[in-house]
């Protein structure tokens, strides 16, 4: 009996027309019929009352208070939100979250971690249109953090830097402009555009001090000064600074990007083709000069 019904069903399937909008219907009671406003169901004056500006749809402008000085004109200058649309935001990721990502194999800690690897987990969303410029590493989980990682974020406090360096890792703060961020957030989509990898632009004047400060491990700071600051921080927080030079993963820990580079190992000006698995490099002098500038 069962095979009969299946046979019947399959034979039906073979000859029924393709499913399209004209031969399916929604769930029962999922669509509410529009009430047309006739009779007792919103009829007669249709909620507009009798005569007057209401029924005649001749309303006063929004904010008008029938002659007296309206609220929106009473106060001459309220600069509470001045330049709020220009302020940069850094959505946070805590050290505990990062630890969880690594332990659950979402991020590979044997390779340098940057914004791309965090976004590729699918668990961190960055919206550059909302003036969001990258990751801010927060100190929740600083006491349990014990992994040696090479991480690049956009903002980190002293405690976080200390926690990572105490565990034997390396932290850098770097800036990515909006265009580079769009390339990083969806790498597959970016490569499918068929355009060369752009060069990363410099930080704006109000951020340049932060990213050139060795105390904040900025990517534009002097590496010698950074190593000095590492010592200072170790002394401040009272831990012995691990010697990275003797570490077997020294190469991985010291791998850093050029200030004009967006992705590790890929230079600006290269065209990556995912279908052919090829990387195209330009040979024109002008282009090379432009991308190396």
């Amino acid at each position: 009996m069962g095979s009969n019904t299946t046979e019947k069903a399959l034979s039906m399937l073979r000859f029924l027309p393709r499913v399209c909008l004209s031969n399916i219907r929604p769930h029962p009671n999922s669509r509410i019929r529009d009430k047309r406003g006739r009779g007792q169901h919103g009829g007669d004056k249709h909620g507009c009352g009798n005569k007057g500006s209401g029924q005649r749809q001749n309303y006063m402008r929004l904010g008008y208070e029938t002659g007296n000085n309206p609220f929106y004109l009473r106060f001459p200058h309220e600069p509470y939100y001045q330049r709020h649309h220009l302020r940069r935001e850094y959505p946070p990721v805590s050290l505990l979250q990062l630890l969880k990502f690594i332990e659950l194999n979402r991020i590979d800690h044997t390779k340098p971690i940057d914004l791309v690897s965090v976004v590729n987990t699918g668990l961190y969303k960055l919206l550059p249109d909302q003036r969001q410029y990258g990751i801010q590493l927060t100190d929740e989980g600083a006491d349990v953090f014990n992994l040696k990682i090479n991480i690049e974020v956009q903002y980190a406090t002293e405690v976080v830097i200390a926690a990572i360096e105490k565990a034997g890792g390396v932290i850098t703060t770097a800036y990515y402009d909006q265009h580079s961020l769009q390339c990083m957030l969806n790498t597959k989509k970016f490569f499918e555009r068929g355009v060369p990898i752009p060069k990363r632009m410099m930080p704006p004047p109000d951020a340049i001090e932060y990213y050139s400060d060795p105390a904040k491990r900025g990517y534009l700071a002097d590496p010698d000064k950074i190593s000095e600051e590492r010592l200072v921080l170790a002394q401040k927080y009272g831990y012995s600074l691990p010697e990275i030079e003797k570490d077997p993963s020294y190469d991985m820990l010291t791998e850093r990007k050029d200030p004009r580079q967006i992705f590790y190992g890929l230079h600006p000006g290269w065209v990556v083709n995912l279908r052919d698995k090829a990387i195209l490099k330009p040979q024109d002098e002008e282009l090379l000069k432009y991308y190396a500038n």
Partner: protein, 258 residues
Amino acid sequence: MLRFNLFRKFVSFHSRNVAFANSRNKSTAVDIEKLDQDTTSIDVVDDELKSREEEIQRKRNKSRLKEPDRNFLFEKDPYPEPTRWHHGTLKYMRRLYGRYGEASGVDPAICWPVKEELEEAIEYEQVAYPFTIPHMIAEAKRKRHETEESVKLRQEEIVKKMEKIEQMKQDVYNRIKNKETEAKAAKERKERLIEEVRMHFGYTVDPRDEKFKEMLEKKEKEQKKAMKEAKKKAREENIMTKLLSKKADTVKKDVNKQ
């Protein structure tokens, strides 16, 4: 109900053709399998075989989809022959290369910015990012120092003034006190005058009367004169005392010399 009847008719109509369709399908299925084996073993060089292969592929396509949609599903170039205006734009062709690679038939050289685009990009960068990093860092540092300096100066100013604050407070209190005492003295003087005038008249006169006022003025003048003379006298006395003291000093000096 009508719908269900129609459906039944539809089904019954098709059920007649099921057997035929099935047999047809089966026969073609067998043929296809055979052909597959043939094609895998021998290279398709024969035109006839090729056309037959193509026809079979066409018949296999039961999707009733448009050609571009089907190509898109199979991750192939949807429009091998360009049909719309944007198929000729650089942007579209770059995307084609990015998605389909060599199979798209696009020259990868178009991926990089063309001369005009490069010029535009360089100009844009010159306008949008005019400063070098050392310059920007120096500027930022200078600005920071400036604000810090101004704040520091202001703080120092405040500290200096704070040292004098007790004295300034005292000055203010004294000034108030003096003012109060003067006002009080003036008031008392006026009261006394009014009393004198009243005494002069003998009976209670309204201070606002004219006669009263005249008397009051006279008395005020007399008082002022008296005050002035008193002041003068006081000044003269001061000068006298000073002169006397000087003389005494000079006499003393002479005596000492001798």
